[in-house]
Symmetry: C3
Amino acid sequence: MTRITILSTVRSPIPQLKMTTTVWQRRHVLGLADFTPGEYDTVLQTAASFQEVLARRTKKVPALQGQVIANLFFEASTRTRSSFELAAKRLSADTLNFAPGTSSLTKGETILDTAKTYLAMGANMMVIRHRDAGVPQTIAAEMDRLDTRVGILNAGDGQHEHPTQGLLDLFTICSLLNFEYPRLGLLAGKKIAIIGDILHSRVARSNIWCLTSSQAEVHLAAPPTLLPKWFGEIVNDESSGIPRRQLFIHSDIEPALKDADFVMTLRLQKERMSAHLLPSLREYHQNYGITRDRVKLCQPDVKILHPGPVNRGVEISSDLMDDPNFSLIPQQVTNGVAVRMALLYLMGSGSH
Amino acid sequence: MTRITILSTVRSPIPQLKMTTTVWQRRHVLGLADFTPGEYDTVLQTAASFQEVLARRTKKVPALQGQVIANLFFEASTRTRSSFELAAKRLSADTLNFAPGTSSLTKGETILDTAKTYLAMGANMMVIRHRDAGVPQTIAAEMDRLDTRVGILNAGDGQHEHPTQGLLDLFTICSLLNFEYPRLGLLAGKKIAIIGDILHSRVARSNIWCLTSSQAEVHLAAPPTLLPKWFGEIVNDESSGIPRRQLFIHSDIEPALKDADFVMTLRLQKERMSAHLLPSLREYHQNYGITRDRVKLCQPDVKILHPGPVNRGVEISSDLMDDPNFSLIPQQVTNGVAVRMALLYLMGSGSH
Amino acid sequence: MTRITILSTVRSPIPQLKMTTTVWQRRHVLGLADFTPGEYDTVLQTAASFQEVLARRTKKVPALQGQVIANLFFEASTRTRSSFELAAKRLSADTLNFAPGTSSLTKGETILDTAKTYLAMGANMMVIRHRDAGVPQTIAAEMDRLDTRVGILNAGDGQHEHPTQGLLDLFTICSLLNFEYPRLGLLAGKKIAIIGDILHSRVARSNIWCLTSSQAEVHLAAPPTLLPKWFGEIVNDESSGIPRRQLFIHSDIEPALKDADFVMTLRLQKERMSAHLLPSLREYHQNYGITRDRVKLCQPDVKILHPGPVNRGVEISSDLMDDPNFSLIPQQVTNGVAVRMALLYLMGSGSH
């Protein structure tokens, strides 16, 4: 006999946060460049609460019941859209999916007009992915100009930022260090290596903003053709907010891996080969692939992250990817749902 | 025994209608050509009730709980499908989406067989869009022949009709004139201009049937190549039901706009250019575009409608489209959800 | 404050089964080759219970509330996906749809990695369709190896099996023979003809395993080029488990139809013509099409089944397909939802 009573909103639908965190003020989440430590901790703690919800038999909470979340994926991505969709459903929101192939865009409508159409239909939040940098920012600015209360969440814009990936990576690391009480402070003294196509990676950008907000040491390694010039500027520019001693850049992988606690390896876009930025996948793997031999350079309990989808045998050797002693890749996907629930919840119920 | 109580709606899920309207008898909504004034008023009043629901914090009502609505969009349209899908979800119906690209149609199944498949799966209503005129009618006839109680709602068929667009335009105008109590009678003595590609527009057709049912004066203006011949016949044919003094046809825009209370401008299909029916977009805009200069011909408080998506700078100048003093375009999108909720509700709970 | 109480299952959400059936032990449903008679009867009885649910006004039961079902249709199929999606929704599960066109597969991810991504997101069951035989089996083996409790349901793999189609065909026949109490034993002494492209048909394979588990006589008829060789082996191989007297193979249609109680005609893939396995659709219809003349060879109350979508006038004459005295095609579609609900329910709540 099954009797399902959802009383969850009467008493603590979302378990109490366990620490004093910043009161959430942010209507939009467009990037991590200006995130404060308090905001990181609020997201981490809220995501930890949702992890508890996801461990229950009934995984839904009515937090966003009656709200509409529009997923505007101008750039297609089944896995990221599925993660956002599941996060929204578990908060009891209704979702609308915009499919670029069959859309009015092909009929000449502007992106802003598309967003305004979903606004007019009643969307309370919009999750935006676009192949060009700046699109979520432009839409957010227009929503504010129109004095709406609609929140915009960047699900990846060009080579600019992918903040939910940065936050889920942070959460994956911090909740490994302290499952009950993940927080930025846990990263103090940790060494984190980011390996791969830094130049073109929005994931790398968001992670760098994120990790350098903590007391971690961040080491980047990439072929010289895939390293951005601007990091040199940032490292030498005190106004960037990134402490000079925290960000290190290498063109060989070994110094980056040396004693690393966490290794983030980035997806290699195969288009880079045709652009003659790389000789071959095989050579890339030889020089920058994460292998059993190379992880011996790291701390014994090093963990490896990858934003997915993985090119097996390119960024990481296939057996290492499947070894739960090293790989955090499944946890990243699982945590992605909790972190996206946390952000939608904070954005949707904030006092902003 | 199933008992679902959503306590949020224990009292008056659907607010009481405020006037005596026709008892709804119509199983299908295929076009507006044979709509009666009582039916228009029932739709307007029901949509006004749903506008109230949409203003609540919890925007869902359990009116169609357990019912299945199949969206069969043989012609793709993200925005119209999103509007129908949201309307269905807010009535607590389950929706099934038929995607033409990946369908059995490419495997040789007929359209009627596709509809009968969704019938057999348990669809209670079907929303049909097709590039050919008459498809929803054919499906409706088959559903009746099979003695089902399934309702068919036309979401646009070829160049024939687009009744929900006509009704949402009517609702947008009438609820501007009287928000609490929108009704056809409010249009008496108003002048409404419809500008653009009348010949190929199902939106124009539905709007003409709709508006000429009221006491409004309807003025059409289009390039001669985009004006249908049959209006001449209708205007001169008393059996058409359209009073001769109500419909006026112009090939210049100025007499149509003169003292107009409302201007409906139609989307220009760019294919018309390749068919040599129009010289250029620029020339079209020069002759038939709605601009700040031209609106001076209209009533000072004139409002402009467009079914979307808009070609900015073609049918209407970009700044005018964004000026809330003139443009009703966002309201049309918002009202589209309420009007579609009203139709699905009436069709789904009627005594027919 | 919203309080939602779903009391719907306080009493018998799923009507009591009316017979002693096997306790369900199967986590995955990958094919019917190893199904036991007790398992067939459990599925038939459970589906009969859900038919009762579907006849109620409120057709939903909360059996799988909070569970996530991922539909991974690597091979697109709108009608089968819609059937699974509706089955899941009526069990109150949440669904995630994987769209192959816009997926990571095009980015080089392996199928197993895709499945593991949905596992990590929290999918409790996965419905898999793939153009290659063996994919659901491979995914199921991986899920077991990883010690997950995720159930895999084969929605069609290459030319191998399509177990839900086999089960819905069985249910359609058995519930016609005894609506209240459908069971395998009802087929004893019945003659069932399967006509068409046996060689390439996963539907035929699943049906043959299914029907030969009963005491029915199964007669296959096909052009020699579309008959598999392996049936000869099976019929002569006692270890196959198929009693030698039950399966008969013909290259003419007449002996198969003679006194048949049920005729299953298979969809003809038009690609067979370009592969020169068949001269023409017209000749196929002449030799193997089900027509009014040919049904006279069968029992007077013979019924015809087809898995859909039908090529009208090829596998079956158009008027016969639409004649409810003969055609069970709409019932197959309806029963498909009940059978899929039964399988998802058994897999999702079993003690396995």
